[in-house]
């Protein structure tokens, strides 16, 4: 998109938004249609396929056994990874993870970690030696915007649907072919609401066209209790304190709607 096109898109979107209308007919604080399917993949221990309007994301959970970190010898390990694969957008390239992919994974990781979603102590097998490792991998199928909210929704849905594989304590081996009925011990179910800002107008659940011209972005992670568990501001624009507080308040309301889907 040339600079000229961008300027006219900003004008077009902001004129509509002043009337509380978005390009796709939504209001400023409406989410697109959400659809979640879980456990559709047999090789993953848990999986979810999230549709958020045009945006579509696969999240898979794999469980493995490894050594705990020396500073937390009794805790299992959570690893969140996101790949902005070029299959899902013409703006993504092959190669090592881009800063955007790393940011996406780390923001989602923070929301899960900081809300103590996973009861990591219960993932200990032998202190200092063997613990369960929880791998959450996020793969967009189509980037129609707002991978943050779709990614965390998918991560939570996949974690909830996951089952442990069989573990032989004597042989110290995981049998990935056999799943037990045991679920991952979860304390919380955080969700995320991400807002965009164009010409001082704030709106939720950006499309990729809105993302392209938005000055700034704010992601708010909300735990089950309604508390904030993670935040991240992105983009080269700014937010005022009042705007941030408004976003948090909106997130508390919006996350209640999102929660119905997991």
């Amino acid at each position: 998109m040339t600079n000229k096109e961008e300027i006219s898109l900003v004008d077009f979107l902001s004129k509509l938004m002043k009337k509380n209308i978005r390009e796709d007919g939504r209001k400023l604080l409406d989410y697109r249609k959400i659809e979640i399917k879980t456990n559709t993949l047999s090789q993953a221990n848990g999986s979810a396929r999230v549709k958020l309007g045009d945006t579509e994301v696969f999240v898979g959970v794999k469980l493995g056994v490894g050594t705990p970190f020396p500073d937390t010898p009794n805790d299992g390990v959570l690893m969140v990874n996101a790949e902005l694969n070029p299959l899902s957008s013409r703006n993504f390239d092959i190669g090592p993870p881009s800063p955007a992919a790393i940011e996406l994974a780390r923001v989602i990781d923070r929301a899960i970690r900081e809300s103590n979603t996973i009861d990591t102590e219960k993932l200990c097998i032998t202190p200092k030696e063997k613990v369960w490792m929880v791998f959450v991998d996020i793969y967009p199928v189509n980037d129609g915007g707002n991978l943050f909210d779709a990614g965390l929704l998918g991560a939570i849905a996949a974690l909830k649907s996951a089952r442990f594989p069989k573990y032989d304590k004597k042989e110290e081996k995981v049998d990935h072919r056999e799943l037990t009925n045991e679920k991952i011990p979860l304390n919380d179910e955080p969700l995320m609401c991400t807002f965009g800002k164009i010409k001082d107008i704030i709106f939720v659940d950006q499309t990729n066209r809105e993302e392209k011209v938005a000055e700034s972005r704010l992601s708010v992670g909300i735990s089950k209790s309604g508390n904030v568990c993670a935040m991240q501001k992105g983009g080269e624009g700014t937010f005022t304190q009042q705007e941030i507080m408004d976003c948090i308040k909106q997130s508390q309301t919006l996350s209640k709607t999102l929660r119905k889907y997991i």
């Binding site: 047999s42 993953a44 221990n45 070029p86 299959l87 189509n142």
Partner: protein, 247 residues
């Protein structure tokens, strides 16, 4: 591979999943599933699930790869981290690089690359769930995605694998048959002319067995090609309906 395992793959002369020796797994094909892409396809061969996207014809980057007389075709095949029983470390591996290359070589003969000089046609293939036959599923999906993208083609490339278990030649191996069987022979053809565009083999087979494996593969490729065509027709009918509704 090599048949060294004692794991029985036939139960009273029957395959473990109950299929006939020359029977395919259930196949699902859907075209136009990724809006961002110029063409796309989602395909399932039993529990093997793949996504393919085509971007292009577009500008060639980096520029030195540009060809003055035809399109530069690039194929990128990769497996999602959660697609295998042990987590698959993301990023290119020697295996995925080789498979990307053989897929490219299997599709190139069918594409009118000469009609798109100085451009790049990119194909991205993601294995979402692996249960043997990922490269053949990938080729089937990629050719549907190419047609969906409107790229001019001589034929739709169709692919399947045959193999050998307990000294029997069988079609479309699933995971256990692939892991513990005696041979695996993936093949791709242009069904109209039966020209073979991909052929690989590992394991142990007699020439007669190879012949038979190719024979049953070509036969079933015709069935797969019908499903590929059907998927494209369904997609275009849908598009047609949507445009009518818009009017």
């Amino acid at each position: 591979m090599g048949g060294k395992s004692d794991k029985p793959l036939l139960n009273k002369g029957q395959r473990l999943d109950g299929r006939a020796f020359d029977e395919l797994r259930p196949i699902k094909i859907k075209a136009g599933v990724i809006k961002q892409a110029d063409g796309s396809c989602e395909l399932e061969f039993g529990e093997t699930k793949v996504l393919a996207a085509v971007y292009g014809p577009k500008k060639v980057l980096p520029k030195h790869l540009e060809k003055s007389d035809k399109a530069y075709l690039s194929v990128y095949y990769y497996m999602a981290a959660f697609s295998t029983s042990e987590r698959n470390r993301p990023g290119p591996s020697r295996r995925s690089k080789e498979i990307s290359k053989v897929i490219k070589d299997s599709l190139a003969p069918a594409i009118h690359l000469e009609k798109y000089p100085q451009t790049n046609i990119s194909i991205f293939i993601q294995i979402t769930n692996a249960n043997a036959g990922t490269r053949t599923a990938a080729i089937n999906a990629a050719s549907v995605a190419l047609v969906d993208a409107g790229i001019e083609m001589k034929d739709i490339v169709t692919s399947v694998a045959a193999g050998k278990i307990e000294n029997k030649v069988v079609l479309d191996l699933f995971q256990d048959e692939d892991n513990f069987g005696q041979a695996d022979l993936p093949i791709a053809i242009m069904p109209r002319t039966k020209e073979i565009t991909l052929l690989q083999m590992d394991g142990d087979m007699t020439p007669e067995e190879v012949d038979k494996a190719i024979e049953i593969s070509i036969k079933s490729c015709k069935d797969i090609a019908k499903l590929q065509r059907q998927a494209i027709i369904t997609k275009y009918k849908q598009d047609d309906m949507e445009t009518k509704n818009d009017k």
